[in-house]
Assembly symmetry: C2
Amino acid sequence: MKVKLEDVAQLAGVSPTTVSRVLNNRGYISEKTREKVEQAIKDLNYYPNDIARSLFKKRTNFIGLILPTINNPFFSELALYIENICSNHEFKVILCNSLGQVAKETSYAEMLIRHQVDGIIVCSYNRGIEIYKNSKLPIVAIDHYLSPTIPVIGSDNYEGGRLAVQHLLNQGCKEIIHINGPSELETPTQNRRKAYEDQVAHPITYELNSVFDEEATAETIKKIFKEHPETDGIFASDDLIASTCLKVANELGIQVPNQLKVVGYDGTLSVRSLLPHLTTIKQPIEEIAQSAVLRLMDIINEVNKDERMEIILPVQLLENGTAELNG
Amino acid sequence: MKVKLEDVAQLAGVSPTTVSRVLNNRGYISEKTREKVEQAIKDLNYYPNDIARSLFKKRTNFIGLILPTINNPFFSELALYIENICSNHEFKVILCNSLGQVAKETSYAEMLIRHQVDGIIVCSYNRGIEIYKNSKLPIVAIDHYLSPTIPVIGSDNYEGGRLAVQHLLNQGCKEIIHINGPSELETPTQNRRKAYEDQVAHPITYELNSVFDEEATAETIKKIFKEHPETDGIFASDDLIASTCLKVANELGIQVPNQLKVVGYDGTLSVRSLLPHLTTIKQPIEEIAQSAVLRLMDIINEVNKDERMEIILPVQLLENGTAELNG
DNA sequence: ATGAAAGCGCTAACAG
DNA sequence: CTGTTAGCGCTTTCAT
């Protein structure tokens, strides 16, 4: 059997209450008693049962993190920062990969509620998860509008789009095409598209319906070059799509940046390391993580509960080579 | 207040036991009663409290996943599969990024114990975490020997090293250099090095002491070219290192694969997508995840508890271009 | 400065 | 087929 608080009390010759006091540094305890108890804890190699504690306290110090897939440079970097900040605040993270499936996401949300998590950070792509709206659970969303009562953290997507397209124009591109995810998703990401459309005379956006299917992405890109051979600039809504553009261009013998300039989006550490010459818009991922966690904790602790329903952080253009002639 | 089982019982006009029976499909319940209860559950929007349930059952259905950093293609892919398989088995995953720090890893392990996780999957690089050895908790390790009682899951590192070096030799390399992590870590990864040393006449291995510091890695690689300008082949112990080799070679005007051939290791989906021409050794990451989770569940459920202390899965050479003249 | 007792929300004997 | 009761391990009034 696992050793429990009562065993410690017995060995130390005190009551369970006293042991609890030592554990939590609460109330008055004589130095002698404290030492006895601490010795007993060591002797028995005792670890408090946080499940029992949570049951009593109605506070688990767990938060749920729901994202489409952790196996994506943006989400894994975000998750790293989120988990780190949480761990600094004594919070623990339950990882949920929704895989873009509504059913999965719903069942994760239910699981988290049943497990009494103190809050949830959502960065999924799914719409219409009613549970988010009905539940009184503290929730913050990253880059997605889930409901009017759920704060959104994100970066300045319009400005990011503007920077990307402006850069391509500055570099002499005449025929710029935009590639983005499905437009029916209500995500601030669509602001990248809006910025693009506001800046070019005849905007042409290609929509990907499965962002995580590289084959399909490659096919779409091939279609672009077939349907619009005059294309000399591509603004991709993320770096993975941009990377696929480079690959397809390479296969087709199109030279980058001479014949085609490409700007990506996200600027994760992984992509900057693996694809150092990709010009991209860098999101402030660490700041997004920080804001999301702090905002969530505010809601959990009921401070500034209803302030700032939207936090927008600045982005940055990284000129690395795929969109510049003189690198 | 949160609605609890008792509230459901009251509304349905039955005892808490009956509600519990409906919830768990245990024992005999009349159809009428079941319907009443289910209606009450719906009306109250009731979700069972898994914390209370866990306390009673002494089973949390939580497992801890300890890895150096989720922001790494290998670990994030592994984590995706692990979490997925767990979720299929009704297990939930607590994410822990040890950041390669012994203190962090120890405190994570303690946290997991206090939270009564049913088991832990460890893929960290840290040595001498005593807690793993002392605790009676079910643990499996991925690619690391933690103690004689802890099963290890990994792929065939010696064969992987052999394949990589043999390939470089077949492609005509005369002076092959190996880059690896610190040799004092007792990881099966060192078998990649051993295979290399067994196959070349005058093995030269450069050791990185901080695998996750790209700057330092780049410096080391520059040193290689300075100290051994005759180098015409590099076998890197992971793809990120290989990628840095490509970058440095590019900066130095060394042509790949003409003047220098590079073979990496891991073959993650991310790297294959971002760096499709990198020749590498592909680890069976999904199978590793599957084996680890199933082995852990066997230990948790006390079946085949002491069988198979080491599971070694096959690897595969992916010829993509950085080590072949005719691609 | 310390202890006794009640209870967090749920489940599982045991009765009936 | 359903209810009563005790208890999972801990914390916290309330006494003393």
